[in-house]
Every structure is written in C-alpha cells, then in structure tokens.
Subunit: 340 residues, 6 copies
C-alpha cells in the first residue's frame, strides 16, 4: 500500500558516453527515466513508500524498465503489462556553448496506447495519501488524458493531495491543446509546479521582465505568475523553478514557493552540471517530500532546491540522493569536501 | 551511378555487450543493420558500386544511419529523408544452449510509412545492373509492398537482374499474407535465396526428411525445394543456405545452388560463432558478387558460403571482409593461422 | 510474506573483464552474489515469492547489495542491517587449460558477525513453505551455525520443507568441523543437494570409481552416495550434480536425483562456459522450483539441470532465466537458434 | 566534382580515455585527424561538396583513415594509395593547470614520402572553386612542399580561391625553413589564417603588447600583424584567432578578420574545454564556409568563431556541427539550454 | 639501497567510473593507493631512489599491489609478505555541491596485523637518508604504532631525516588516542606536515579565524598553528596545506611553510578538480623532494604546491608528474596551452 | 645483476577490443610486447632475475614501455634511451575461419636505429648466465645484426649459455638475408628454438610429410629437421614447437626437444584460443626456465609446452603465469576446475 503514487511514462534513455555526439562511437548508455518515474525514484530514495503506475510491454525490455524501479524499492505492482513498445528518448549531453539535445521516439508506447481497463484507480489509491503527475502524461494522447482525469477524480474522492508539474512539451502537443486539457485537470490539483515558460506556454500566463535565453530572471515576475495561477485554479501551492543557464556546463539554480500565506525564494546554487535531465523532477520530489513530511514551507522549498541541485551532479534521470545528503546541503555545506 | 541497388530497411541495433542479457548492465552497443543494408555493405566491401535505397528521418539518428553506410562507400544519395523514426531491433547474443534473442521495435519507421512519391525508380536504376531486396521489405506494409512491385517492374523494364532473399519473419506477417504478396513479386525475380523454412512458410513448399531443431539436414530435400520453386516461379537460380545449429556457439554452415543446368552443394564449415546475425545476408551478397562478376556457378556458391562463414566471426550485422579474404577461405585455408 | 526463504551471505564479487588475469587492467566488474542469494534470485526469476535473509552493513555498499536483490523482486525486508563490512570474493575467469580462480576476503563480514538478536525466525517464516541454506552459512562461524540451527528448528516447527546444499568450502572449515556441525543440521533437512566431493569431504561418504580431475564419472557410485546419505540422515531427496570438467571452457553437466521411490539421471549437456560460478546454486533453485511447484520428480530434475545448464551461459552469479526458457531447453531445444 | 579541396596529412590519433596520462590504463581512443582533414570534415558537415587529398598506405589502417572521412561524406576519390605507414600523434588531454601534450610519430608516413606522380592536380581541381592547405603540409618535407606549390599553381591557373592556415610546428621545421618555403607559397594565397605566434615564428612579424602565456591579448597588435601580412603577401583576407588560455580547462576564444576594407573583432566566448585539438581548423573551415557561401565579412567571422567555439565542446579532431547549430550560437544563444 | 623510505598501508581503491555513485553501474576502477605509498610513487616519478615498506598478503591481490609500485620504479624489496587481506577503500567522486565519499574497509589487513618480526629496520634504513610516514600508519593499531616507533628510533639512530604528515582519520582512532601515540612519535620528527584540522584534532592546537566549511582561510592562524607545533615538538619545518573548498569541482589550493628562520606562503591555484584524493600526499612528496634536493625553502614550498596542484588534475591516488612538469608550473606557466 | 638477459625490440601493440576488426570501433587496447621482451617477462614471472636490453625513445611512450616491463620485476636498467619512436604492431584477433592479422609499423624505431655505443655488453653480461635473442632482432637491420653478434661474442666470452628462437619474419628480410646473417650468429648458439617453417625459410632445412595449412604434422619430419640443424650448427638442444591450426579458435599445441642424447615429444594440448600471440615466446621462456633450473630434459620440455599452452588463454603478449600454475598443468591437471 504505497503512500505516494505517481503516474506517467518511463522511457528507455539512450545517451552516448560522456560528451560524445550521437553515434560518435558505437556505445550508448541505456538507462530508464521519465518525469513521474523520476519523482517516484527520488521519493523512494527519501525512504517514502512510493508506487509508480504506467503500462509497459510484456517483454524483456518492458521487464527491465520495471526492474529499474524495483531496484530503488519503488512499488511496481500496479504497473499494467501489455502493448507494443517502450518509448525511447535519445539524449546527447552538451557542454559549454553546445546545448544538450533530446530526440523523442515515444509514439506508440504501451502507456500512450493504454485505455480504461488498464488501471483500477480505486485499488491503486487504496491507502495512499498523495498523487503526482506531470503535463507530459495527458499530452501522450486523448486516451491518456482521460486516464489522468479518472485518476485525479478518484484521488480527490479518496482525499489524496494532488500535485502536478506542468512540464510543457511542444513536441507532444500545441499550447491550445495543452490549455484545454490541463485546464480541466488543474481543478483537481493542490500543488502546482512550473517554470515560467510552462505557465506561459500552457496557460498564456506571463511574467514580465524575464529573458530566459539571456539568463536574466526576475523575482517579481515569478510572484505574479504564481498569483495568477492560484487565482485561476485555486492551488494551495505554486512552486516555480528558476534556472539561469549560463552555458550547458554552468547554471544557476533556485526556486520560489508561493504557499498559502507567503512566498519564499530559495538560496541560489552555482551548479557545475554533470547531467541536468531530471532536474525539475528532482525538485518536484523534494517538494512533495518536504510538504508531505510536514516541513515548514520555507524548509520544504530549500529541501527541494538542494535535492535538485544535487541531481545536477548525478548521471541519469534518477536522483540518487538520501534525505541526509539533501539536508546537509540545504543546511549550508556545499563545500564538497571529501566525506571520509 | 551504382551498378547494384538494394532496397529495404536499416534499423538501429541495440545489443548488450558480449553475452550479457538485456539490461544486465547499462551499456548497449548501438550500430545499424538490416537485411538489404547488410547486402549493400558486403558488396561495397567487395569493391562493387552499390547503392542502398530506403527512407530515414531527417534528424541525427537518421543521419547516423546514412553515415554508417557511407563509411563503407555505399552510395546513399538515393535515400529518401523524412518520416518519424528509425526502426530498432534489440539483440541479445546467446551462447551454448541459450539462444540469441531478437525483439523488434520497428513499427512506424520512416520506411514502413513511405509512399509513392518517395522514390524515383527510373532515376535510381539508371545505369544499374542488379536489384536486390528481401521478403522483409514488402512485409513492412502494403504501401511498402507496392513500392517493391514498382521497383521490380522498373528494374525489369531497365533490364536489371533481380534477386530476392525470401527471409520470412513471422512477427511481420502471416504465411498467407506472405504467400500472396511474395507470389506476385516473384514474377520479377531471377535469383531466389531461401532457407528451407522460408520456402515452406512462405509458399508451403516442403522438403521431406529435415528436422531443423534437431539439426539434421537432408540434401535431397533441398534439391526438391529448389526444383519446386523454379517450377512455380521460373527462377534462373535458387540458392538455399544450410545451417545445422548444434548450439548458439557452434553451427555447421553450407549452402546449395540450383543453377540453370546443375545443382551444387558447397563445402560445409564448422563455425565457432561470434555473431550470426546477418549470416544469411552475407551469403546473398557473396552470391550476387559471384554471379555478377562472372564466376562459375560452383565458384560463386563457394564464394558465397565462404563469405558468410567469415561473417559469423565478425561482430555486427555488416560483413567486413574483402574479396581476397573470402577467396583465401573458399580456396581452402580455414586454418586461421596468423597473417603477418 | 514470502513463500520461500533462503539464508546466507551475499558478497561483492570483483572480477576482471573477460578472461583477464587479476589486475591485468584497472577495471573490475563489481556485482554481488553468494550461494543462497543466488538461489533466491533464481527463484524470483521463476516467479516465486522469495525472501533472502542475511545481515549487511548500514552503508552504501551494504545498501547496494540489498538493491541488487530487490532488482529481481526478491523480498529484502527481512535483511538485518549493521556490522562492518560486505564480504568480498575476487574471481578470475579461466579459459581452456587455465582454471578460474577465487580468492575470498570474507572474514569479518556483517553476516559472519551476526548473532541471536539479528533475526526473528518466527516472523521470518510466517506464511513461508520452504527454507533453503547451504553448507557455507554455518561455516562462517559458530555464531552463524547457531543461527542456522535456530532457523532450521523454527522452520520445522512451522512445517516448512528444508533444503540444504552441502557446498563444502575447505577455506572456511575443516572436514571435521563440517561433519560435526552439518551432522547436527541435517536432522532438519528434507532435500539434500551435493556433489560427490561434498559428501566425501563433509561426511566421509565415498563413491567408488570416480575420478573428478580426470573427468570420469560413475553412475553407480552416485547412487551409492545418495543411498548412504539418505540412510544416515533420513532425507526425502538427495540430488547430486555431475560435472565433467574437460577444460575451463568446456564441461559436461548433468545430475542425479534420488527421490523417494526411484533414482533418476538427467540428460547430459555439453556446455561452452561463459561463467560457471553459481552453477550449483542454479541447480538447487531449479530443483526447489520443480519440487515446490509439483512437477514429477524426473521433470523437476530435468528442469533443475536445464536451468543450471543455461546458467553457464550467463555472466555473474545470478541465473537470469525464466521458467519458459528453462522448459524450452528441458523439453529438448538446445539448438540455440535465434529467437525472433 | 568537389567544390572545395583540402590537401594534407591525416594521422591516427591515439589518446588515453578522459584525462588519463599516457598509458595510465591499457586503452586508447583511436581516431583520425589532421589539420586539412579536419577542415574537410567540417565543410562536409556544413553541407559543402568537399574533397580531401592525401596519400595513405594500401592496408587496413590506411583504408580506415579513408573511411573515417567518407563517413562524413568527404570525397575520398582523389586520395593516392601506397607508401608505408599512417602517421600517428599521441595526445594526452590536460586539465586545470596541466597542459595537453602531443607526441608526434609521423616521420615516414605515406604522404610525407609522396612525390610528383601521386597527384593529378589538373584533374583534382576540375570543377573546384576553393583550395585549402596549412603550413603543416609543406613542412612534411621538400617533396611535399613541391607538391604544395604544384597544387597552388594549378589552383590559381584554374581560378580557385586559395586559403592557407600558417600552423607553424616547431617539431617539423625551423623558422628559417618555414619562412623560405611558406614565403614562396604565400604568393598564391588569398586568405591567410594565423595566430600571433604563427606570424612571428614563420615570418618574424610581431604584435607588440601581447603575452600569450600570461593570457593578455592586444587588439591593436593583431591589427598590426594582419596589416604587415597583407602588405608583404597581398592577401585579400587575414584572419587571426585569439585564444586566451586561462587553464587547460578554461579558455577565452575570439578572432579577428582583416578584410579588404575593414577589420572586425568577433565576440569572445568563455569556453569550458572538452577537446581543443582542431580548434583552429574548425575556425578555418567556418571562415571558408562563410566567405564561400557569400556571407558578409563580419558574419563570416562570427560564423567561424562560433563554429570553433563549439568544436571545443566536442571530442576528437573533427568538428561535428551543422550550419544551424553554428548559426544559433553566432546569433546569440550560448545558454546551453536543452534542445528538445 | 633506497635513499628515501616510506612506511604505511597500500589499499585497493575501488571507484565507480567518472561521477557515478556507488554501484550505479557494475564496473569499478580498481587501482591501489594510500598515503605513504602515494608519497613513494611521487618521489620515484621525481627520479628519487625510493622504497615503500608495508606488509601484503602472499596472493595475487597482494602481488598486484606490489607490482603497482614496481611499475614506477619504487623499490618493493622490503615489503613483508603474509597476512590475510589487502585493505580496501571505496571512493565515489563528487561534483559541484555533491562531495566525494570514502568508505573504508581496511580492518584486518596484513599491515594492520603486522608485528615485530616483519621488518628489519636496521637493514631497511641501510644507506637511506630520509624516512616518511603519516598519522594513518600508527592509527592502524597499537602493534603498528609500535612498529612506527621502532622505525623512527632506528631512523634517527642511522641519522635519517624523519618527516610525518599528521593525516588524522577519525574513523581509525579518537583524538585522545591520536594525541597520545602521535605525541610520542613526534619526538623523532624533523618535518611535520599538516592541515589546520589535523593540528587541532590531534593535538588540540587551533588557528583562530578559520572556517573550513565556509571556505575562509586565515594566514595568521596558520602561522600560529605552526609556531605552536614547533614549540611543542621541536620540528625544523612545519608545512600546512591550505585548501579552500568552493565545491567538489573547484578548490583553491596553497600552502605555508614555517622553516627555520622564516615563514612562506605559496602562490594560490584555482583548481578544476579531476581527482583530489592524494592531494596532500603529493604535497608531502614535493616538499620532501624540494628539501632533500637542496632547494631553497621558498622554492621547495612552491615546488610542493605546484606538484600537488597538478595532482588534482590526475586520476588515481598516484601523482604521475615529472620534476620538469612541476617546475614549469611552479615557475609560472599554468596556462595549460598544448605542449606539442 | 640479472642472471638471464634478453635483447630485442619491444613494440606498442594496438589491438581492437575482442574480435573486432581494425577500427570497427574507436578504441584500441594499447599494450606492449615483442619476442624477447615476452621471454623476459615470462622468466620474471617464474621468479628469475631477468634483464631486457633494448633502446627506447626518451619520451613518455618510451618510458611507458620501460614501465610495462618493470611492473613484472624485469630489470630495465640496461635499456638505452634515445632515438625517435617506439615500433608499433597492429593486431586483429581472428576467430573461427578468420585468421588473426598483424600489420607492422616498426621501421625507424629506436632499437632499429641503435648502434655500437648504445650497449656495453661487458657490463650487461656481468654476473649473467644466459643470453637469449630471436631472429627478429638481427632482422631489424645490419646495425642491429652487428649488435647481436657483438652481444653473442661477449656472452660466449663470459661463459653464458646462448639461446635463439629463429622466428623468421618475411616482412623484415628475405630468406637469403636471414640465412646469411643467422648462419653467422648460430655459431654462438647452444639452444635453438624453431618451428618447421623457420628452419626451412631461414636455412632451407625441410621436414618431409608435413602440411602446415592442412594441419597434419609429422613427427619423423621434425626429428629430421632437428638432426640437420644440430649437424650444421652444433647446437646442444633443438626445440621445435608443433602447432596444428584447426581454426583461429582451436589449435593443437605440442613440441619436440632434441636433447643431447635423446629426442622427446611432449603431450599435445587441445587449446581454445584467447590470444595466441606470444605463444612461441612463452615456450622459449619455459624451456629456458626448465633447462636453467636443472630440470630433466623431458620435464623441461613439458614445462615449456604447458607454459605456452597456458599463454594461449591469456590476453596480451606477456605470459602471466607462475611456476606453480605451469607445473600443475604439466603434471596433468588441465581440467580447468575452479581453484578456490
């Protein structure tokens, strides 16, 4: 009986070694990852009883995806098996002025083809307290969007807290489609996670004075975005991640949390990037952990930012850090001295 | 202006290192291959002016597939660009009693979605003398089967020799579909390559007294299969590969050629297998080379068998051997003494 | 509530890549394994609800050992955490006339230092039906031998079937010690697994006419060994694995099962070895699966031998095969033809 | 009929993995590279019809060098085959205060032993519009210097633009030899590429106020160098690359172009270095592309600097970037945000 | 007859590749290292005749440790063979805010179990001029502390200079134990190497105004620590390394030398870290080299700091640099320009 | 003062991983090896005090070659430093019917350019008892042949036993040159090692009835070759290795020793080949060890054959086996059972 449930797609991630460009040699790192799966693994690593729900084919590749989650103690018993393929994303890691590059090959995956009979939400949420999904899941198709709504409705019925990371992906759907579908789903959501682009691209909500490409960020703008989101959808919390991309090797990383009574801006970290994919997901997981475990809002935010700061130093989609490690950083030791 | 043209799919081949099972570690060998591409590379390695025709997406993965062919000097100028994805096959290399395992993930590939406008066969065949395809290509879909027929018709119109390897794949179509489509295409074919199972599974033509699983092979049976094929479709040549599978590590390998006036059985090789995928394709390429370059039928057969024998010692789909290397083996030196 | 419980040590296995000698280069394969853990993983791969019980340190290396089991769905919830270190064994893979080599560095491991309070056998066996251990576990020390007896006594009290693989290790104890301790433990055992050397080295029970180094094996001798074992300890089943070591690269592999009413000799397999470590454990797991799932005695034996035959083709201690794969081989297809 | 032709040596590049020192382990990355070959590959990646001219041995190592170029679509049909060996350079990648290290082993290579009969320049330049070489080529020996002059003369006769990167290598010749030979060749050159050291070391032309080791660079000095070069040799363009080496890990990178009517200084990039070998060549290729494709002088310069900035983030001698990628950076997005 | 002798433990160092966390994949880099062994290798690389003294098991792993030293020309003839195991340390390389992590598994190693009969110090020091050890060696156990004192006494008797790096390890002993044992040993020591934490943690000697975690360092404080150490133990030299840890990726690195008549502070280097383990040891080796070879005190300090600065750019415990390389840096060229 | 001295070339050996063809991927195994160096390493592994004499460049690649020998305890103090390059050989490992392939790139190496002043043979042989070289060394050039004769003359003067492996390399010299030079050198030789081809190709001495390619070997023929060699040159011992090459994967391996009073044929081993390069050298080393250490002739032969049998199972040129391992095999245990 998992306490936290996440729902979405887990993909095969194919990445050339190190900084090599695609097919620069004949080896690929082959691991698994995907927004909601990443959140589930993070939470399991924080010691939370977490289940990941998806659909995966009934062959060795699908089974390997399942095992990649079981390895961390994620509850995989609610995963539906069937369908044709595991979605894939190709990832090339950038450096300096050369950006990382993602090529998706996820059409036709088992979860993208899933339907009503695949999930028994009443059973899945039995005993659970939190449900998390991201904007990627409903973007997989109308059928999956319906599954999301089913899940949300049942979650609210059973009294779960619902969180959603907007996670807009322009390759999956248009802003119009996103706005329509996400608008409906937001009615069930208590905790909304976003970056400035998401809010604008999904709901047309803008923060003035911010130029993402140029790397300038504007605090007031984010407060304004959060306020608008809360007004439109009634969220209890809106969290916005604040990335300043100096280059593919160096980013600044911080976040804002608009809580019920106050808005907090976290510390900002100067990050030397090992792997930034999954950075947003690790923030989401940190925030869920913080709020779920009863931290003060400000502490939950700092925990979330520290967790995702550490993620940037770890290869792969999954954030392989413990609560102790996150707290050590959140409480101020980012000196990186050897721990013997 | 390539002299030999092959048409089909080139896929991304994802294989764990060595004898590892799928995802036993987090690395995959990522190379490219596929029946007709393998034939094209073999022929280029034999010094032939060869073009490979397919459709590939206009992104880095598609481009890498193109380059993997250009590396060997295959003419890639007739490849159509567009569509969504590069087909994939996952391969696990067996050993001893554990068989190799292939999982296909090729649905929705660019070539499987190709249509009439993608190829200008009149231009493609301009100056060419030989056209080769396999039974996999038309099995990709009705649209591709039509492209095959278009190609065959134009090839015959321009006076090319046409060869086809039956290559039945039960995951792609049923015997009924295969029989209907391939029956039509065979009218254009001069040189038919098969193994006993292909003939039976596609056309219901059986050779008595052969038990593939048990490893017994029967010469008379193969003569009978070849005769039936020639009678039904008017082939000039029928070649049948004869594999005796002792285990995933050891095979015996030979072939038969039913030529216009006589039938020949080749030497049989005891093969320690490094990688048997592409073994049949390397035979086809060897036979095309032999016949095209004017060898005697018997010599062409021995060349083809020696070429494919060597393929079994080479990693990857592609047969990386020269005419000299094949001839050395075909003429009798299989001792494997170091060449200094 | 696992149905099958195994108890013992899981070690870090450090092996140079391929056939390299120790430290021939600066890389090691670092995986986990150990007799009873190997059995647990095999059983989990056969779909059985299996728990592994041991003690492991409360640091990242210990946690990684736990995860290596959770990956396969083994229940790790009964593992005690604490103590100082994960035991290690260094393995060098032999080839041809050069034998594989094992160097143990397991003294002082957490399980070797475990004591009474570490395991609540009543709870552990709640709902279970089978308990398995090997002669390695009690050889770790008097304290661990006592834990074994505690476990055995509780297992019998709760009505579990108890199986034991004698697995004599001369580096861990003398024959005299082994005889004394194992003699006591055998009173609880229903199914005894051994090879000829084990029976002789532990209990002084000999089979005439067998010369292990020379590779000759003698059926009557094994029947005699099994009979003597059953007479002395009252086992329901005695299984003996029969390895003929031609070289480090080639073995013959078979087994004998002395059941309640009859004695069976299995098929013999000619094995090209990829990794023979864990071969005996995979036999034990196969036998437990066969007997537990209600196969006929003869079929259980053939299943066990086929499972362990396949293990020899797989890298690592763990047998990564499914019931279907084992049955395909046990039912006669060892041809190793590609499965597409 | 390639439009652009480059002439020089392609060597085997042997590099330990990552930041390892020579033979710190027993693996080497084995790729190919060399000034003019690097330019040819860059141009092919920009979609230009480019041929590389050299001489390579008629064995597998020579053939592999050819294929490494064909992979990118470089026209290799004009490469002469014969001679004894492929030149080698050993490369160790530095980090922080530890510099990268190059050890050449190129004496006796096929191209260094090439002579009059090896190249038919009239045929090679048939249909071409641009010829490029560097100061390394004539430094290989008097015979190769003569080949350079032959090539230059024929190029001018056929109306090609000629570009040359001075590329002084003190291990290959003295400043005196370089001055004599290069002085002669410069008469044919339209576009001269250099860094400050080259101009001084080859022609004794100095820029005041610049201390390369200390990292200070002086704009006026470079203008002065360019002016002197143009006055002495009548170049239409002089381009000078401006590297500020902070450490082996961090450089600043910019360039200057002295065009017919004006002198331009590019943006300066802060570069985190992955591999700086080939940085100058990628600048040359970018400049040729820009000028050849009709960009404005300033834009050509920015294109060249952006192209070479990206090269520093790519492993290997070859610049694996597209025109689109270069333009995105040249037009201002160096933020390194993930491209999805 | 080695001139310089170091005494301590050499361990197996197991490190995941690159920045991977423990067991993130199934490969480990397996090399050897340890404080005094690192010093011995550094000195051998500086061309000094150096012996390393330890005890290692008489099996392949022990032999490999010996060979890892012989590779660099370290005299291994005084190594005692016997005992049970080679100590191990697991190392995970940090990045950005994530610290490196060390897990020791060294209890029960051969050297930790060594006793009186294992070393003939009179013979070992025959012809030697310098003896070096660190605080780790006596911390291995009372028996090893006694061996240290025996060695020190004999060294002084034979007139050797004795140096010691305090190297406090809280996992090995308490401050109280360290103070007692080290206090005794310091009587023999001429050159004491420490960092601020060592002096405080071993002897309770504090430098005011320094906050290691926060990264601030205070020169006066270090002068005070050195003075106190010299007063208490009569050292001729006290050297203190000054690390400012900005993150696991970036450190500032400098040192102070309190010589007989004056105190010197070195240049400070901004270091991009490849591997900082062994940084302190490489400083010690540089200082020994400088003082032993008769450099001026200030030059010896700069040599030591430059040597250890370079170590941070090199994988593994051992500092693989030559005297020339160190001098180039110490004399001012840290620009990292390629050396061709 | 080494007891055994070998003289020759040590080369860089560049080999693609596993069974890959040249440049099939971009990695090479980069190790060192060469006939006489291989013998020196073998002998050092047998515990003999052995020196290797050669000339190597005074740069990092040369130093790495030196260290590769020092690693095994070979005395490298007599190696001359200077010259331009380390010779190279490219090696591709064959399998099944595909032979291994060697491409030499050794012209211009330091040892091939060595001259009179490079070696002080009187000093080198001071205290030595055995000198070994092979036919490759004099084949490097007239200058090196002269060095060989100098060495041989001094060795005889100081009373050393001299052994020579004929080792004919057709790429280095013609049979005529070899016959002339080797004929002269043989006057100094006591122990001659050859294979049938060597004797014929160098001295025109034939054994009837043997067909190397076909794999048939004829005992009488070898006796005849040995007798002829002894008659012509007065050798005390002639040893001939007997390889039956079934394929690149499987060989039979044995040898003959014609001693002073009798001729012995060894056991024959069926070898699964991991790496057969250096097989002959490991035989030579085994024979030298056996004869030098006073074994009976027959035992020395069996030791030599067992040693070289084991070499075939080991990657790299060097035979990494101990005397114990060889004796275990020579005395009959080739079963390859795991050694725990």
């Amino acid at each position: 009986m998992a306490k936290i449930v996440t729902f979405g797609e887990i993909m095969l991630r194919l990445k050339p070694e190190g900084y090599l460009r695609f097919f620069q040699n004949d080896k690929m790192e082959a691991t698994f990852g995907g927004g909601e799966a990443n959140v589930a693994v993070s939470l399991a690593n924080f010691g939370m009883d977490t289940a990941f729900v998806t659909k995966l084919p009934d062959h060795d590749i699908g089974e390997s995806a399942v095992r990649s989650l079981a390895y961390f103690g994620v509850d995989t018993s609610k995963i539906s098996r069937g369908g044709d393929r595991v979605g894939i994303y190709y990832l090339e890691t950038g450096a300096s002025q050369r950006p990382s590059k993602v090529i998706y090959d996820r059409a036709g995956s088992s979860i993208a083809s899933a339907g009503k009979g695949d999930f028994d939400w009443e059973d899945i949420f039995n005993g659970a307290e939190w449900f998390h999904f991201t904007g990627i899941t409903p973007a997989l198709g109308e059928n999956v969007a319906e599954l999301c709504e089913e899940a949300c409705a049942e979650a609210k019925k059973q009294g779960l807290t619902v969180s959603c990371d907007l996670n807009f992906r322009k390759k999956l759907w248009s802003s119009e489609e996103a706005c329509r579908v996400m608008g409906t789903l937001m009615r069930y959501v208590d905790v909304c996670i976003a970056n400035e682009e998401d809010a604008e691209k999904v709901f047309g909500i803008k923060a003035e004075g911010t130029d993402v490409t140029g790397g300038k960020l504007n605090h007031d703008g984010y407060v304004s975005v959060a306020r608008q989101l809360k007004e439109r959808f009634g969220f209890k919390y809106v969290a916005v991640t604040l990335r300043t991309s100096i280059s593919a090797s160096d980013n600044k990383w911080a976040a804002m949390l608009s809580a019920e009574n106050d808005t907090y801006f976290s510390k900002q970290y100067d990050v030397r990037i090992v792997d930034r994919v999954g950075g947003g997901d690790s923030f989401g997981a940190g925030l869920i952990y913080g709020l779920y475990s009863g931290m003060k809002d400000k502490d939950a935010l700092e925990f979330a930012v520290a967790a995702s700061c550490l993620k940037h130093s770890i290869e792969g989609d999954f954030n392989r850090v413990s609560v102790d490690e996150v707290k050590t950083l959140a409480e101020g030791d980012g000196s990186g001295r050897v721990q013997r």
